[in-house]
Point group: C2
Chain length 326, copies 2
Amino acid sequence: MLDIWSHYPNVAQKLNTVSSLINEHLSTDKPDVKQLLADAAQEQGKMLRPGLFLLFSELGNKHEQSEEQLLKIAASLEILHKATLIHDDIIDDSPLRHGVITIQSNFGKDVAVYAGDLLFTVFFELLIDTMNGTTMMKDNAAAMKKLLFGELSQMHARFNQNQTIENYVENIKGKTAELFRLACLEGAYFGKSSSEVTQIAASIGENIGIAFQIYDDILDYTSSSKILKKPVLEDLAQGVYTSPLLFAIAKDPQAFAPFLDKKQNISVAEIKKVSNLVHKLGGVKDAITFAQSYTKNALVDIDKLPQNEITISIKKLTNSLLNRKF
Amino acid sequence: MLDIWSHYPNVAQKLNTVSSLINEHLSTDKPDVKQLLADAAQEQGKMLRPGLFLLFSELGNKHEQSEEQLLKIAASLEILHKATLIHDDIIDDSPLRHGVITIQSNFGKDVAVYAGDLLFTVFFELLIDTMNGTTMMKDNAAAMKKLLFGELSQMHARFNQNQTIENYVENIKGKTAELFRLACLEGAYFGKSSSEVTQIAASIGENIGIAFQIYDDILDYTSSSKILKKPVLEDLAQGVYTSPLLFAIAKDPQAFAPFLDKKQNISVAEIKKVSNLVHKLGGVKDAITFAQSYTKNALVDIDKLPQNEITISIKKLTNSLLNRKF
């Protein structure tokens, strides 16, 4: 779990139960699959999506809420996220995720394909258990679809030096922001907030998600692999060109072409040169300004919510998420 | 579509509409994904699952049925099947499926991972559209889970010469028979048959599915690649040991060990020798008898249904499916 949640003891306490629920739903007595699912459960990420969901659920009317339903939906969000990560790691060929050996590198790519599918099924089971018959089922399917369109579009844009920043934003809206949007939307909805608050929550979630992904991309250019717990600038070698690079390319495309034309054959030394160029041409600075514009959108929306201690917490979290070094 | 359906004009006609529905649900205006989904839609299989579903739906009360609902559920079954095939082809590294180039060999394995996921999402959307709030949602999630457990167990059993026939049946119950079971169960349920008929339908579907898969495995030892439209005995080289081989191994394990111990390094000539041994030791004959026992189970169950022209069709189909050369 992310350290950040220790500042929100109410959420942190519930997240512990969510972790247990995830373990429970990913346990089986089938001997062939047991270890695989246990490993998928064990790898604990930042729990950002269930945390946001729980925080937003607190905006609503406590007396109308079902604690059990809320905890299970929080678990569903993390399990959907885990499922996509397992499939992402196949595509990225990643040996590590959050410093832990990935399913694909431990069990092989073949097993990882089905393991991700299995987690989609557990996600689906949790939805049926908690919201069968509600319109939110449709929102979940739509979110999953948008997420996959984002991943596929990003894949399609690989090694494309002419990619626009608009295209990049469209892709991260799908691959990252959509799940943040869903988490906040569902938090408000199942927390029994008004439909007005629910719509604002969705918009806040999307803006936090976009800003979060841009910051993630920035950290790739500013952080060390020790802090990030993953190889730095791996995305670049795989042709995923993110906002700091895209802003810098826009200023001087010719400077980058000799390096990027090498595609996956770019060397570590050349990656360093690209990174230095990105900094020199102000790509990182531009990306920070760009991310801040989405943070600002989120903060403007937060101000539209009924002001109370929960709204203050949401505001605090939004600011701290987007000033992180991890 | 399978030629067999031409003998059931009512079902064949509806399957044409199901094909259109599949095309419609797999079309998008997203340029990056358009061709990929079109290819996934285009590859038309035997349409066995939607065909069985539609045939079983005819057992029920026509006046209580929704034609639109039935056609969409039929489409959902084929789309779930397609999703699993796309992921299977990644694992099998198959260049062809039903004589057509696979998604993974056309677009790359990475795209195929997400393409399969996307089809799971479309399946999910169709369920929400047709049965949100019903208990059948749970049956669908359970079927998908059992299917994946079957695939993972089969993968776990690869190259295991000591695998029992019971273990093999357990795996094909998941990976193949579960979807047949679901098709017949849903056909009866949404066709508005009684709960008694629905339970019998599920059992018929499972037995047809098991027999179908055993025959599929037998064809691998008896058919030519031209008729099967795929390389013969590919399974064997990949360590998937099916019933004809398992029955033969049980009779003389030592005869097979020198070949099978080579695992994936087995040569084409050695595969031929293994196939000859399987025939010589009566493995194919034993497998046929074994498949027939499941066909018989299905026929016994069919006789428990109210006898009418639909039941006769179901019986005819069961017999012809399991005497096929394709």
